[in-house]
Symmetry: C2
DNA sequence: ACCTGAACACCGTTCAAGT
DNA sequence: ACCTGAACACCGTTCAAGT
């Protein structure tokens, strides 16, 4: 309406279309983003968008690159701190843009921020002394964890710690009481999380640190501090080869 | 056609609708599954389906429960082996049903197989001596990793080890040569994976074992075998409290 | 009890115009 | 160079009928 009365406020361009699409998806969810609703944001007919993006796939490529541009690149002398902060930054970006998690690694045409980010992560680990193969293991494990955590955080039926118990209870309340007795360990989840809640932030950090500690042991020069006495001699040959607990 | 000539082969029922929907999604992808294409599988009009499923959301609920029913529940005396096999079974199910990964933990109405599975996983860890909180950490970390790995395996542009290098090269070939020089560590990925390939199976197991080893240390009675001499005395007090390497 | 047909309010996208 | 309008081939789903 007002867009039509006044002269067009701003001419469309690709960056404006992309950033508006991101904001619209943040606000209304991915299903709320259609070429038609996006056009409406500008007071423009849907077809006007096709001058600035090739199609919806191209629009999505650009949106994902905006998300990548918001993720902090690992930096600093300590690879572990750098990678921890990068993962936390990735989570924050994906909490802001919940629609994005399924698309981050599925783009056939990665944008510049995407390439820059992946290159920087590889650089961080390679320069920390990890072999190429170990770097691939580390990167794959960390990103799998981060994306998987957010996939669940995105879609799990509760958002706040207070809500978590209630919704879990509702889930089971739908089943008859006898069925609830059939799953005692789910009852425990309902009771315990209902009392103490579920904090996504600390939960994410626990798994993250567990994985970072595991990655540390993949380094060729890694020495288990707990396996040597408090005053450690200069060389402890074969210390990493001691058998682990049987399983 | 033939469905119309002969008398209706089989009357529709919910289970048949659900299993056919799973098979159709496996064959044609999630976008290929619509109420209309599904109806066509039976030679029936789309509206006929609504007698057996409430709507598409309800259809999806049932499909996800079929996937859960295919995942091996953890069993056996050793929690680590049991959980490893469960994760591998989960991956296999999600490789068969790539459309499912984003929906496994997002159902508002979990089906019976879903409840049974989650209860069994909680039981396995609790009975292995993990505290409730630690069990939640362990479960969250393992599932995040598994779902995240499959999210990438599902959407990453290459399927086979042989393809991986080529597609990665294509990705970068789209950029000008100077841009490729801007990302030396991505070039390494293209070169190395082009030569030796990328095996999803072994890659998954590396991260999985790394996480299982980390979870083992969260157990209250865990003792670091590498931190004690080969012949271990009955009690080693405080051995787990030795400071780790600085970071 | 189960299936049908027509219709409604949506999609992304093409094509031919308009300014 | 940029935006419009009408149209096409799709969606999920409602409603009123058929057998």
């Amino acid at each position: 309406m007002t867009q039509q009365e006044t002269q067009r406020r701003t001419r469309l361009n690709r960056d404006l279309v992309l950033s508006t699409a991101v904001a619209l998806a943040d606000r209304t969810g991915f299903e709320g983003l259609t070429m038609r609703t996006l056009a409406q944001e500008f007071g423009v007919v849907p077809m006007a968008l096709y001058k600035h993006v090739a199609n919806k796939e191209d629009l999505l490529d650009g949106m994902v690159d905006i998300v990548f541009s918001e993720v902090a690149v690992p930096s600093g002398p300590d690879w572990k701190t750098a990678m921890r902060e990068r993962s936390i930054s990735m989570r924050q970006a994906l909490v802001r843009h919940r629609w994005a998690v399924g698309f981050m690694e599925s783009r056939m045409r990665p944008g510049p921020a995407n390439l820059r980010h992946h290159n920087a992560v590889m650089a961080c680990l390679r320069q920390a002394g990890f072999s190429f193969r170990t770097t691939v293991h580390a990167y794959s494990t960390l990103d799998s964890y981060t994306y998987g955590f957010l996939l669940q955080e995105k879609t799990l039926p509760f958002d706040t710690a207070e809500e978590s118990g209630e919704v879990a209870a509702q889930k089971l309340a739908m089943q008859p009481a006898e069925m609830a007795a059939q799953f005692p360990y789910l009852i425990e989840v309902v009771m315990e999380l209902g009392m103490s809640g579920y904090d996504y932030d600390v939960e994410f950090r626990v798994g993250l640190d567990l994985i970072l500690d595991g990655i540390e042991k993949l380094r060729p020069d890694w020495v288990d501090a707990a396996s040597v006495s408090a005053s450690v001699p200069e060389s402890v040959p074969g210390v990493g080869d001691v058998a682990t607990t049987a399983d």
